[in-house]
């Protein structure tokens, strides 16, 4: 999984850290490095920006995988400079921010906006591939997600607005259902498109979502 993030505007970050003179910065070596939002270079740049505003950066680190439980170990190693700071500025996706906040008493401030989970389609172009709807249908739609890729989230085929394979909403964007059609046809599975897809159960969507996944009795709480 790749979390696609974007740096918040610097003014917004400054606004959020305004009451702290000492700041510790944490980046992430995985998704945020790939999207160039929280890798080493961006962390150093953030450090310089904050120092330019007369803030003291008590230290920084780029944790290999900020959302991982190993984050705790990495933070222990940097316990002193983290404790010396008024807040921890986290340059990772929201998962990393959550992880970090569970291992420190300091206020934790995200420097990034988490946009979606997706893939890098070509260098610098990230595309959402899943909206985590809880009822995956892509086994019947040739691996293309109509919930995420169709503007209307249609489940039973294209709307009448599609034109030459493009979406009615954005002529630069491929119509998800034309893509699904072409791929199913190439796979010789066009019959799947004839199958009625019932309405979605949006009970799967409301927040908060949580799932208990069986990992064997002995590991249960």
């Amino acid at each position: 999984m790749k979390s696609i993030t974007r740096q918040k505007p610097l003014e917004e970050v400054i606004q959020q850290v305004r009451s702290f003179d000492q700041i510790y910065i944490l980046g992430c070596g995985t998704c945020a490095t790939m999207t160039k939002t929280g890798g080493r270079d961006q962390v150093i740049k953030m450090k310089e920006s904050l120092e330019g505003l007369d803030k003291t950066v008590t230290g920084w680190a780029v944790i290999p995988i900020a959302c991982d439980e190993m984050t705790e170990v990495a933070m222990k190693e940097n316990e002193r400079p983290i404790r010396n700071a008024g807040c921890v500025l986290v340059m990772a996706c929201a998962l990393g921010v959550h992880r970090v906040s569970s291992y420190t008493r300091n206020p934790v401030i995200p420097a990034l906006d988490t946009l979606f989970i997706g893939l890098e389609e070509k260098p610098g172009l990230f595309k959402e591939v899943c909206a985590q709807c809880g009822q995956c249908v892509i086994g019947e739609t040739a691996g293309i997600c109509p919930v995420t890729e169709c503007n209307k989230g249609l489940l039973n085929g294209p709307c009448g607005g599609t034109n030459e394979g493009k979406c009615e909403v954005d002529k630069n964007k491929d119509c998800a259902w034309t893509l699904i059609y072409r791929k199913l046809k190439a796979q010789g599975r066009l019959n799947l498109m004839r199958k009625y897809q019932p309405p979605k159960n949006y009970q799967m969507v409301p927040r908060p979502k949580a799932a208990r996944i069986s990992i064997g009795e002995e590991n249960r709480e």
């Binding site: 503007n151 209307k152 989230g153 249609l154 489940l155 039973n156 085929g157 294209p158 709307c159 009448g160 607005g161 599609t162 034109n163 030459e164 394979g165 009615e168 909403v169 259902w177 034309t178 059609y181 046809k185 066009l190 498109m193 004839r194 009625y196 019932p198 309405p199 979605k200 949006y202």
Partner: protein, 295 residues
């Protein structure tokens, strides 16, 4: 049980004519009422648009009631864009209770093409699911499977685009709509009668009535605009030329003539079961179109 006069017309074997009216933006209903009066006995049903092109307007349901109150036959257009499954069911029950017996099930245009671009598009159901929902409510159950104290009954239809490209996914969806219970189809505007006849060959395999969409052309410029902007509409060059050659100020008259001519041709050869006339803001000329078509 109330009967749908429109359904009776569809089943009578006669060439059915419906016309579309767009409710006003605001509460001044004078013009809509005028058009209803003008057309209510000239066509088999009047079809009221539902925030067409995602532009907020007086509701289709309100327009349909006005038609009904004046003795006409109304077709409720219902898009999935603005209402979730509860609201759709509520509106269907209300429509039924007030003698509106026909409904056209549409996905609806995207929100961003309209005039409330920041709105939340709902699309809780799609047009196929809406058709199924209607059949389920007719069987006395709501969508959750609960009993209804009093069912609904509708002559339900949907749209299709015979000139879309690629066409096959549209045809698959057409068949899904038939299976879901669509009894009639209104097509997107057609201009190429040969292509349309081909589509009809295909559509005739199914036990549904097809009304060809007739969009009134008012000028060569408008025809070009349709070609450039509306998916699934192709106005052939000879019609564009005909409009361009009509002379200054004669575009509308020429468009009326073209529409009348097409309707007459479709009727003469019994190509389809009828037509659905979309005059888009020029509803007052619909009687002229009908006269030109010999209807």
């Amino acid at each position: 049980m109330t009967v749908s006069k429109f359904k009776e017309a569809l089943n009578s074997g006669k060439f059915v004519v419906t016309s579309e009216l767009g409710p006003p933006k605001g509460t001044n209903l004078d013009q809509m009422m005028h058009h209803i009066e003008l057309l209510k006995y000239r066509v088999d049903a009047l079809n009221l648009t539902d925030h067409q092109s995602s532009v907020m307007r007086f509701p289709s349901l309100g327009g349909c009631l006005a038609v009904k109150e004046r003795g006409g036959e109304a077709v409720l257009q219902m898009t999935c864009r603005d209402r979730n499954r509860l609201a759709l069911q509520a509106d269907l029950m209300f429509a039924h209770s007030r003698g509106i017996n026909n409904v056209l099930c549409l996905t609806g245009d995207a929100v961003v093409v309209g005039d409330h671009k920041g709105a939340k598009g709902v699309f809780d159901l799609d047009s196929v699911q809406l058709l199924r929902l209607i059949r389920q409510m007719e069987a006395g159950k709501d969508m959750a499977g609960n009993d209804l104290d009093g069912a609904v009954s509708f002559c339900a239809g949907a749209c299709c685009t015979p000139e879309a490209s690629p066409i096959e996914p549209q045809l698959i969806k057409f068949e899904k709509k038939v299976e879901a219970g669509a009894e009639f189809f209104q097509t997107q505007a057609i201009y190429d009668l040969e292509k349309f006849a081909k589509f009809m060959e295909y559509a005739r395999q199914f036990p549904v009535k097809i009304l060809a969409g007739i969009v009134l052309l008012t000028s060569a410029g408008m025809a070009k605009f349709l070609n450039a902007n509306i998916p699934g509409i192709t106005v052939p060059q000879d019609l564009i030329d005909e409009l361009a050659n009509a002379g200054r100020g004669r575009g509308l008259a020429k468009g009326i003539e073209i529409a009348g001519r097409m309707i007459a041709a479709l009727k003469k050869d019994s190509v389809c079961d009828g037509v659905h006339i979309m005059a888009i803001g020029k509803e007052e000329v619909v009687p002229e179109i009908l006269a030109k078509a010999g209807l």
